[in-house]
Symmetry: C2
Subunit: 351 residues, 2 copies
Amino acid sequence: MLAKVRGERLLASSIHDLARHLNISIGTVSRALNGRADVNADTRQRVLEAARQLNYSPNQSGRSLRQGATRSIAFMLQPHPGDQQYGEPFFIPFLTGLQARLAEHDLDLMVVMGEPGQYQQERLRRVVETRRADAVVLANTRREDDRIDYLSKAGFPFATLGRSQSGGDTYPSLDIDFEKAGSDAVDRLVARGHRRIAAIRPSHDLNFGYLFLDGYRKALKRHGIEVDPGLIADGFINEAGGYQVTPRVMASKERPTAIIFNNDAMALGGCKALAEMGIRPGHDIAVIVIVDTPLCRYFSPALTAFRPSLEPMGRRLAEMLLASLPAFAGPEGTRIMREVWPLELIARESD
Amino acid sequence: MLAKVRGERLLASSIHDLARHLNISIGTVSRALNGRADVNADTRQRVLEAARQLNYSPNQSGRSLRQGATRSIAFMLQPHPGDQQYGEPFFIPFLTGLQARLAEHDLDLMVVMGEPGQYQQERLRRVVETRRADAVVLANTRREDDRIDYLSKAGFPFATLGRSQSGGDTYPSLDIDFEKAGSDAVDRLVARGHRRIAAIRPSHDLNFGYLFLDGYRKALKRHGIEVDPGLIADGFINEAGGYQVTPRVMASKERPTAIIFNNDAMALGGCKALAEMGIRPGHDIAVIVIVDTPLCRYFSPALTAFRPSLEPMGRRLAEMLLASLPAFAGPEGTRIMREVWPLELIARESD
DNA sequence: CGTTTTTCCGTAAACGTTTACGAGAACACA
DNA sequence: TGTGTTCTCGTAAACGTTTACGGAAAAACG
């Protein structure tokens, strides 16, 4: 249907039009446009000139078919159960960085979200099997992630935001250092005199929850503080989850004087619960949030939090993915399979 | 490079493999898979069965080339000057709805963002001319939008989130009723006894700013209140903009007792400025925000705001776009070119 | 001037589909 | 039995590229 309009010259013309117009074969035109060496400097000029005049750009479907590459990357956003918002404020900056770097290589970004709460194997398979993308970027990585297993077995290139236990070190991944954040948070609180420190993290198989807890535990031990299971709780990764689970740790026989939340939405819910108990963060209890979002800043009291550099992370993961693709790989040795990025402490009023 | 692995049977096979395996021509296989009538029921069964076994799905590039349609829609996000965040909390829910409805039709979503502050004509042209998408959804519509002009002239299908003065009623568009929101906000404030009401909106050519101001003005006139230009101000559409411009309206000879902000980030900046002047929203001044985001809810005091139904809007715009595409059009008469959606008032503490 | 090399270009196949066309077989009908 | 219909399928072209191959012309070389 689109071809019909072709004659109007506003729409792109095909390489045949160009060749006809120049009295030249399409092969030569193609070689000229693609910078091949075996074409006369003169004719190359004429071709480029004509391409500009006729407003020609190569049809991507034709290219994809011939080259076996679509020049597009799929970004898969799999909502955690309970999270209706895809980690809303988290992903836009990351996506911005990712797509910016991809765009520099003329790669397009396809975004695949799932129905909340539903796993995306089907959508993923479709992308892979119909060859809609050349590679996949996985977000919301789980501890055991069947998407990773599938892609590994299929030999389909991919990279992940967040580590997983699946698949080993065979694919590029970029992660936030939740372990260090958990540890740093404990250090900070201990330095301020706290010894009863609670930890609240998302339930389900989210890998970062485990990393966080590792750091938390190790730091406590380092400070000679015994880990009290009553001070550790899991909940749904949303406001309701935090609201529901916070009273549980507060009900511990010896009340905690500080809480570390491993998710911003859970922290907000937790603070609501605290407020209802008449406990004021920043006064009666110290609160630290592990991943900062704009909400933490504007909440009252403003929440002390650890912040990742999301946009640079997006750029970086794009680079790592590209470096792992044969078609883009630079010098062989430069392939980096794993990076763990630190978080920056943003001290505010809640601790 | 991908083809190399084909033999391993984990990767998709081609229609030729299927035909060979069944001792049948590829034409028949294709017709069987596509539900054409002229194929024996038996053979269709065998084909479908084999397709399942061999894990066959059609290569999208091949399809696109043959059919002249890519089955993907591009979503263009053009940041407003001054907005580094692409209206961050605004777009994820919209995108969620959009992509959900598109996915139901097996359409993929390609997201194209621009460098902040840079217009995207180039990126848009590339998508259109290389035929990477079958249609485009435009966001961040401007009052005069050259993207709309371009797409109209090129005869390329598109739809917009937000109205524009460009292009007339020739394309599907879905808009938030900023005019009514501006008017409703004034009504509410007047009913609560206010008569000196300020309006702060983004500068630049953003259409919704004009609509909002129209509603604001009309409502004032309806209540017999003279419009005071000193109470209207434009600023950059970010926190700094609100911070910078709010003192200006507060410096008016007769101080306003209420402010309507046409953007959440500007409202937050404005509240900061107010706080520094010792003026408390909800006590000393009434504040209403025109587009609600999660930030408004958690801010202290919680900001009264008008909220759009972003996810349903995304779904709806997808429907409208599809209905306008020949390949998807239902009955001719059902093409809806323009819809304006109301906002819901979320009364909180700031007014 | 003859031979070899280089430069440049045209030809045609290939990527994986869909689909217009036509033909053989089976069937119906007179 | 002859004719017309209906089912079913194979053939081949087409979508727009890129690229392997070979060959003609030009240049280089002896």
